[in-house]
C-alpha cells in the first residue's frame, strides 16, 4: 500500500496518476509538427581528415530513455570517424573541453572503435555486413570501448540511408590496407603541429642508448649487453633494431634463426636475476634440421647456464598457461554484459549478474595471469633464479607477463613515465601484433584477442588494491585502453617496430618494398611448436622445472609472508588473488551505462575529497614557506579545482551526468524534485576538471 494518492496528513491533494500511454512514436510526433528542428552543428575535421558520406534527419536515440526519445541530426562518416551532429544537450562543447581525458567527442566513433553493427528490420535486430539488399530502419553500433549507439533512419531519405549505411559498413568492416590507415594522412597533414613535449621522458627503446640506460638503471649491465646486430632489421623483422642479450652470446647466433631461440633480456632484479624471453624455433620435420636446432639450443643454454648466470627456470607459456583462444572467448562473453541495447535488457541480465560474470571467466583469467606473475616474481626474488619466458613468437603472453612482473617488482614502472616506457619496451619493441590483435585492418576476426586490455586490467587490479603505490589512476588506464582505437597515435597500430619503421619512414628508407616481408600470419590456434623445444632440451628442462607441489609450497610461503608484512609502496608489490579480490574494472566497462551510476557518490566522491585535502595541505605548506621566507603579503588563494565541487556522478569523468531511467518494481517518476531546485540546475552544468585523475 505504498505510493501515490493516499491522503497525506498535511499534503492533502492527490497527485495526478499517469494514465496516458502514447502510441505514437516520437519520430511521428516530430514529423507531424512538420518542423524538424535540426540545429546545424559544424563538423570538426582533423588535419588530413576527409568527409566520405553523410545523411540528414537521423534520429539518435537517447538510449536510457524508455520512451525512445531522440535527437535529430546529421550522421556523417569520414575516413577517421563516424560522427553524429545534433543539438545534443549532453554533448555541450563547453563542457567537453573540460574533460582532459576525452580524446574524441561524445558522439564520435572512430572507425577502429566499431565492434559490431546491427540493423533493425521490422523490429528484428540482425548483424550487418557486406552488401545489403535491404536497408534497416535503425542502425545499432556497438563500440570497442563498450558504447552503444542507436540511430533511427526512418525519416532519412532513401538514397542517404543507402549511402551512409553502406559507407559505414564498408569503412569499418571491409579489410583494409595498412597504408590506408588514417594515421598516415593525419601524420603527413599535421606533421608540423605534432610538437613533442620535451618534458616527456618516456623511453622509446629505439636507440642503443635507451637500452644501455635501462641496463644501467636495473644494474643488468654486468651480465648483459645491448646489441645492434639487428640494425636495419637485417637479422629479424620480428625483433627491434636494438635489444639486450647475455654478454657472452655471440651476435651471429641472432642471425641463425632470425632471432628465434635467443634469450632476450627483459629486466634485471636487484639481486642480479633476470627476466628473459625467447621465441620458439620454427617447427621442422627434417631430422637433419632438427639436429641443427638441437645443437644451436645446446650452445645457447650452455652460455646461460654457466656462472655468472643464475639457474634458469623456463616458463613455457604456450603449453602450460592460458591460450589466446581462452582469452578471446572469455572477453567476448564478458563484454556482452556491458553492451546493452536497452534498459529492459539491462535489468534482465542484472538479475543473473554474478553467474553471468562467473561464466564469462574473464575475472578468472585475470587471476591466473596475476598468479603466474607472482610465481615468476617468487623465482626471481626468493629463489634467485633467472626466468626464461617461452612462447611461439614471444609477443603475446610474454609481453603480458614480463610487463606485469616488472610492474610488481620495479616501482619505476608504477610511475607514469616508467609505465609508458615499459609499454614501449615490452609491447611495442617486444613486437606485440597490435594490428592483428585489435583487428585494425579487419583482416581476421580470429586474430583479434584483447591481450593488451587483459594486461591493463591486471594492472588495474593491482592499482585498485594498492592505490598509493601508483603514480597514475584508473582513468589513465582507461584512457590508455581507449587510445588503442584512435588512429592518431601510431603507437598501437603496427605489428612490429620493423613494420612501423618501414611504413612510417618509407621515403627515407631505401629498402625495396618487396624485400620487407609482410608480417607472417601467426595462427595461434594451430599446435604450438614448443614441444620441439621441450623435446630438444629434454632432461635439462625437466630438471629445472620444479615439481608442481614444491612450487606451490614456495609460492604459498612467498605470497603469504609478503601479505603478512607491512607494504613498502616503493618496493615489491603483490596483488591479493583470492577470488573475491578480483574485481570488475567498473570505470572501463560500466562507464556508459546510466543504470549503473550513483548520483553524488561512488569513488569519484572519495577522490574529490582526497584532492581537496591534498590541495589544502599544499596550500598550508605554501603559507608556512611564505612565512619562512618572510616575503610579505600572501599570494591570493589559488582557486581550488574542487572547492566548488558539485555532487558528481560515479560515471565521471566519462559519461555526463544522466538522470535515472525507469526500473522495474519502483515507480517511474524521476528524482527531479530532490534537493534544492536551484542546486540541481547548477549541478547540471558544473563540471570540474579532474583530467589528471
Amino acid at each position: 500500500m505504498l505510493g501515490k494518492g493516499v491522503v497525506g496528513g498535511g499534503g492533502g491533494t492527490k497527485a495526478p496518476k499517469p494514465s496516458f500511454v502514447s502510441y505514437v512514436r516520437p519520430e511521428e510526433i516530430h514529423t507531424n509538427e512538420k518542423e524538424v528542428t535540426e540545429k546545424e552543428v559544424t563538423l570538426h575535421l582533423l588535419p588530413g581528415e576527409q568527409l566520405l558520406c553523410e545523411a540528414s534527419t537521423v534520429l539518435k536515440y537517447v538510449q536510457e530513455d524508455s520512451c525512445q526519445r531522440g535527437i535529430y541530426g546529421k550522421l556523417v562518416c569520414t575516413d577517421f570517424k563516424i560522427a553524429f551532429l545534433g543539438d545534443d544537450e549532453s554533448a555541450l562543447d563547453n563542457d567537453e573541453t573540460q574533460f582532459k581525458n576525452k580524446v574524441i567527442g561524445e558522439n564520435d566513433i572512430t572507425l577502429h572503435c566499431v565492434d559490431q553493427i546491427y540493423g533493425v528490420f521490422d523490429e528484428k535486430k540482425k548483424p550487418l555486413f557486406g552488401q545489403l539488399k535491404k536497408y534497416p530502419e535503425k542502425l545499432i553500433i556497438h563500440c570497442k570501448d563498450l558504447r552503444v549507439f542507436h540511430f533511427g533512419l526512418r525519416y532519412t531519405k532513401e538514397e542517404e540511408v543507402k549511402r551512409i549505411v553502406s559507407g559505414i559498413i564498408h569503412h569499418t568492416q571491409a579489410p583494409k590496407l595498412l597504408k590506408r590507415l588514417f594515421l598516415f594522412s593525419y601524420a603527413s597533414a599535421a606533421q608540423n603541429n605534432t610538437a613533442t613535449d620535451p618534458k616527456n621522458h618516456t623511453v622509446m627503446f629505439d636507440t642503443l642508448k635507451d637500452w644501455c640506460w635501462e641496463l644501467e638503471r636495473t644494474k643488468g649491465n654486468v651480465k648483459y649487453k645491448a646489441v645492434s646486430v639487428n640494425e636495419g632489421y637485417k637479422a629479424s623483422d620480428r625483433l627491434p633494431a636494438y635489444f639486450v642479450v647475455p654478454t657472452p652470446l655471440p651476435e651471429e647466433d641472432v642471425r641463425c634463426f632470425q632471432g628465434r631461440g635467443i634469450p632476450i633480456w627483459c629486466w634485471s632484479c636487484h639481486n642480479g636475476c633476470a627476466l628473459l624471453k625467447m621465441s620458439a624455433l620454427p617447427k621442422e620435420q627434417d631430422d637433419g634440421l632438427l639436429q641443427i636446432q638441437k645443437s644451436f639450443l645446446d650452445g645457447i643454454y650452455k652460455t646461460v647456464h654457466r656462472p655468472p648466470y643464475e639457474i634458469v627456470k623456463t616458463e613455457d607459456l604456450s603449453s602450460n598457461f592460458l591460450s589466446l583462444q581462452d582469452i578471446q572467448t572469455a572477453y567476448s562473453k564478458f563484454k556482452q554484459l556491458f553492451l546493452i541495447d536497452n534498459s529492459t535488457e539491462f535489468w534482465d541480465t542484472d538479475i543473473k549478474w554474478f553467474s553471468l560474470l562467473e561464466s564469462s571467466s574473464w575475472l578468472d583469467i585475470i587471476r591466473r595471469c596475476l598468479k603466474k606473475a607472482i610465481e615468476i616474481t617468487e623465482c626471481l626474488e626468493a629463489q634467485n633464479m633467472n626466468v626464461l619466458l617461452l612462447e611461439e613468437n614471444a609477443s603475446d603472453l610474454c609481453c603480458l607477463l614480463s610487463s606485469l612482473v616488472q610492474v610488481m617488482m620495479d616501482p619505476h614502472c608504477r610511475t607514469r613515465v616508467g609505465f609508458q616506457s615499459l609499454v614501449q619496451k615490452e609491447w611495442i619493441m617486444g613486437g606485440h601484433c597490435f594490428l592483428d590483435r585489435c583487428n585494425h585492418l579487419r583482416q581476421s576476426d580470429k586474430e583479434e584477442v584483447p591481450v593488451f586490455l587483459l594486461f591493463l586490467d591486471c594492472v588495474w587490479q593491482l592499482a585498485h588494491q594498492h592505490p598509493p603505490a601508483f603514480d597514475f589512476t584508473e582513468t589513465y588506464l582507461t584512457v590508455l585502453s581507449d587510445s588503442l582505437y584512435i588512429p592518431i597515435f601510431s603507437t598501437f597500430f603496427f605489428n612490429s617496430p620493423h613494420q612501423k619503421d618501414t611504413n612510417m619512414h618509407q621515403r627515407q628508407l631505401s629498402l625495396p618494398l618487396t624485400q620487407s616481408k609482410s608480417s607472417p600470419k601467426r595462427g595461434f590456434f594451430r599446435e604450438e611448436t614448443d614441444h620441439l623445444i621441450k623435446n630438444l632440451l629434454g632432461k635439462r628442462i625437466s630438471k629445472l622445472i620444479n615439481s608442481s607441489d614444491e612450487l606451490q609450497d614456495n609460492f604459498r610461503e612467498f605470497y603469504e609472508s609478503w601479505h603478512s608484512k607491512p607494504t613498502d609502496y616503493h618496493g615489491l608489490l603483490l596483488p591479493h588473488i583470492e577470488g573475491p579480490e578480483i574485481k570488475v574494472w567498473a570505470q572501463r566497462y560500466l562507464r556508459w551505462i546510466p543504470e549503473a551510476q550513483i548520483l553524488g557518490g561512488g569513488r569519484v566522491a572519495t577522490m574529490s575529497k582526497l584532492l581537496e585535502m591534498m590541495e589544502e595541505v599544499e596550500h598550508l605548506q605554501e603559507k608556512i614557506d611564505e612565512r619562512h621566507h618572510s616575503q610579505g603579503a600572501l599570494p591570493a588563494e589559488a582557486p581550488s579545482l574542487l572547492r566548488s565541487s558539485a555532487r558528481l556522478s560515479s560515471l565521471f569523468p566519462f559519461a555526463l551526468l544522466q538522470r535515472h531511467s525507469s526500473k522495474p518494481v519502483l515507480p517511474t517518476s524521476g528524482w527531479k524534485a530532490l534537493g534544492d531546485e536551484e542546486d540541481l540546475a547548477k549541478r547540471e552544468d558544473e563540471f570540474v576538471d579532474l583530467g589528471d585523475v
Binding site: 493516499v6 553467474s355 603469504e560 553524488g600 557518490g601
Partner: protein, 576 residues
C-alpha cells in the same frame, strides 16, 4: 564457576583458517568466567567472549590432537587443536554451558562494571531521548498527536508506551484497529518528514499476510519481495560457507555469491527503502509499511528509508537515535534474533546484521554523506551480540522495563560517543543540506561482499593500506600545519611588539618543525586497520578486551617503523 572444569591448557595450536600452507600458532588456552583466552608464543592474545560463541564443535581426533572449532556471532571462526582429548572435552562442555545462558540475569551486562556511579549510568541511559527525536521531526502537530492508549502496554505489549497517531484517530478507532493486527500492532508514526511545503510521513504497522486493497480508497499497493527470517538465515549461512573456503577461486566465489542469494536479499531491502523514500519525496505521499509482525522487515525498511531521507540519521548520534527508535522501541526481538539466551534456534536470524550491511553499502556508495565509518557499524554489530550493555537485551520495551535494565546495566551509546573520534568518517562533508536525499543505485554490480564484516578477524585477507588511512593522515597533517601557522603568526606579533624591526631570528625559524614528522611519514604508515590505530583503542572495555585485529597491526607497526610508533602500540593491553 561450576561450568569450568579446566581453566588452562598448554600446547594448544591455533590454525589460520585461510592459510593455504596450514600455518598455526602454539600457545596456552585459558577459560575465564566471561572469556576464552588464547595466548600464543609471541604473547599475542585472542579473547573470545562466551556470549559471542554461536557454535562449538569437536571434530574427529587427529594425530596431532583433538580439533575444536568455535564459530562466533561476530563471524570469528577459530580452529584449535588441543593435544589431549580429555582437555578438549572439558573445554567443549564448559563452552557449551557458558555460551548458552538460560536467564537474562546470567548475561554479562548484569555483571559488567565500568566503574561508574548510578548517576553516570542513568545519564548514559538518558543520552538518547526519543521524545526529543519526535520533537525534532516536528510532531505533535496539527495532524499527529501523542496517544496515551498504550501507556500501560494495554493495546500492544511490544510497542513502546508513547506512540504518535493521526489526530483524527480516536482511542476507539485505535483499539478497534489493533484488533485486526498481529499482536495488536496497529499503524503508528515512525518518521515524519518535513521539507518545505511537503508534509509526508512513513507509518509502520503490521498485519499478518496481505492487506486487502478493497478496504482502502486512494491507495496504491506495492508488494516488495523481502524474504522471511528463515530464508535470510540460511542465505547468510550459505554465503559464509562459500567464502570460508581456502584459496577461493573467482568462479566459485561468484557462483557461490549468486546461489546464496544474500546480496539479492540486501538489494530487495534496499529497493524497498528507495521506494519508500521516493514515495515520500517525489510523490508527496504517506507510506504504510507492514510485514507479518512488523518487527523485522518493517524495521529494516522504515529505518533505511529514514536514513535516505534525513541526513540527521547519517550522523553518529542520529544513527543511535534511529536504532533506538525503529529497532529497540518498536520491538525488534533482539534477544531472540541474536540468540542471547538458550532458546529456539529458528528465531535466530541476521535481520539487524542485514540492516547494518545495507547501511554499509550506502556508505560505500556515498562516501561523503555519513559522519560515521565502517568501524562504527562493526562495533555496534559486536555489541548486539556481546550482551555487555543493556540496550539490546530483551525483545521489547515492556520486557526491558521488567528486567530493570536501566538500573542494573549500562547503555552502550555513551561509550561509543566518548570514543567517537575512532568512528569518524574523514570524508564526511557536513555541509550538505539537511534533506539531501540519497539515491542509491541498486544495480547488482554495486553490491559487494562485506569482507570487513564477515572476515573481520581473518586479517590475512585484508589489504594493508587504504585511501581511508591516507585521508585520516592527511587530516592530521592539516591540523598540524594550521597549528604551525597560528604559532608563527602569534610569534610574529610578539616579535613585532618587542623589536620594531621585522627580522626573523634564528630561534623563530627553528620553532616550527620545518618538516613536521607527520609529513615525512606521509606514505610510510602501513596498516589497514578496521579501527584507526592512532587513538587509544577500545577505551570501552570491549567484549574481547584485547582485540587482536588492531593490536597486531600496531605491534608490527612498531617494529618496522619506529618513527611512527607514537600511534599507541600495545594499546590493546591497557584495557585488560
Amino acid at each position: 564457576m561450576e561450568h569450568i572444569r579446566t581453566t588452562k591448557v598448554e600446547q594448544v595450536k591455533l590454525l589460520d583458517r585461510f592459510s593455504t600452507s596450514n600455518k598455526s600458532l602454539t600457545g596456552t588456552l585459558y577459560l575465564t568466567a566471561t572469556h576464552l583466552l588464547f595466548i600464543d608464543s609471541h604473547q599475542k592474545e585472542t579473547w573470545i567472549l562466551h556470549h559471542h560463541i554461536a557454535l562449538v564443535e569437536k571434530l574427529a581426533l587427529t594425530t596431532s590432537g583433538c580439533p575444536l572449532v568455535i564459530q562466533c556471532k561476530n563471524f570469528r571462526i577459530v580452529h584449535f587443536i588441543v593435544p589431549r582429548e580429555r582437555d578438549c572435552h572439558d573445554i567443549y562442555n564448559s563452552l557449551l554451558q557458558l555460551s548458552k545462558q538460560a536467564k537474562y540475569e546470567d548475561l554479562y551486562a548484569f555483571s559488567y562494571n565500568p566503574k561508574q556511579n548510578d548517576m553516570e549510568r542513568l545519564q548514559g541511559w538518558q543520552l538518547i531521548d526519543l521524545a526529543e527525536e519526535y520533537k525534532r521531526m516536528g510532531v505533535p502537530n496539527s495532524n499527529w498527536q501523542l496517544s496515551d492508549g498504550n501507556r500501560e502496554y494495554k493495546i500492544c505489549e511490544t510497542y513502546p508506551r508513547e506512540l504518535y497517531v493521526p489526530r483524527i484517530a480516536s482511542k476507539p478507532i485505535i483499539v478497534g484497529s489493533s484488533k485486526f493486527r498481529s499482536k495488536g500492532r496497529f499503524p503508528v508514526l515512525s518518521y515524519y518528514h518535513q521539507n518545505k511545503e511537503l508534509n509526508a510521513m512513513a507509518n509502520r504497522a503490521a498485519g499478518k499476510g496481505y492487506e486487502n486493497e478493497d478496504n482502502y480508497s486512494n491507495i496504491r499497493f506495492q508488494f516488495v519481495g523481502i524474504e522471511n527470517i528463515h530464508v535470510m538465515r540460511s542465505s547468510l549461512q550459505k554465503l559464509l560457507e562459500v567464502n570460508g573456503t581456502k584459496g577461493l577461486s573467482v568462479s566459485d566465489f561468484y557462483s557461490g555469491l549468486e546461489s546464496s542469494g544474500w546480496l539479492r536479499h540486501i538489494k530487495a531491502v534496499m529497493d524497498a527503502a528507495i521506494f519508500l523514500a521516493k514515495a515520500i519525496m517525489v510523490e508527496n505521499a504517506s507510506v504504510l509499511v507492514h510485514c507479518s509482525d512488523g518487527w523485522d522487515r518493517t524495521s529494516q525498511v522504515c529505518s533505511l528509508g529514514s536514513l535516505l531521507l534525513d541526513s540527521y540519521y547519517r550522523t553518529i548520534k542520529g544513527f543511535m537515535v534511529l536504532i533506538e527508535k525503529d529497532w529497540i522501541s518498536f520491538g525488534h526481538k533482539f534477544s531472540e534474533r541474536c540468540g542471547h539466551l538458550d532458546g529456539d534456534p529458528k528465531e535466530v536470524s541476521p535481520v539487524f546484521t542485514q540492516f547494518l550491511e545495507c547501511v554499509w553499502h550506502l556508505t560505500e556508495q556515498f562516501p561523503q554523506d555519513f559522519e560515521f565509518n565502517e568501524a562504527f557499524l562493526l562495533q555496534i554489530h559486536e555489541h548486539i551480540h556481546s550482551c555487555q550493555f543493556g540496550n539490546f537485551l530483551g525483545n521489547c520495551q515492556k520486557e526491558r522495563e521488567e528486567l530493570k535494565l536501566k538500573e542494573k546495566t549500562y547503555s552502550l551509546w555513551p561509550f561509543l560517543l566518548d570514543d567517537q573520534k575512532k568512528y569518524l568518517n574523514p570524508l564526511y562533508s557536513s555541509k550538505s543540506p539537511k534533506f539531501a536525499v540519497l539515491e542509491p543505485n541498486t544495480v547488482s554490480f554495486n553490491f559487494k561482499f562485506w569482507r570487513n564484516m564477515y572476515h573481520q578477524f581473518d586479517r590475512t585477507l585484508h589489504p594493508r593500506q587504504s585511501v581511508f588511512n591516507i585521508i585520516m593522515n592527511m587530516n592530521e597533517q592539516n591540523k598540524q600545519l594550521e597549528k604551525d601557522i597560528k604559532d608563527l603568526e602569534s610569534k610574529i606579533k610578539q616579535r613585532k611588539n618587542k623589536q620594531t624591526d621585522g627580522i626573523l631570528t634564528k630561534e623563530l625559524l627553528h620553532s616550527v618543525h620545518p618538516e613536521s614528522p607527520t609529513l615525512k611519514t606521509s606514505l610510510c604508515f602501513k596498516e589497514q586497520t578496521l579501527l584507526p590505530v592512532n587513538h587509544a583503542l577500545r577505551t570501552i572495555e570491549g567484549s574481547n578486551p584485547a582485540d587482536n585485529r588492531y593490536s597486531e597491526y600496531a605491534e608490527e607497526f612498531s617494529k618496522s617503523e619506529p618513527g611512527v610508533v607514537s600511534l599507541e602500540c600495545g594499546v590493546a593491553r591497557m584495557t585488560c
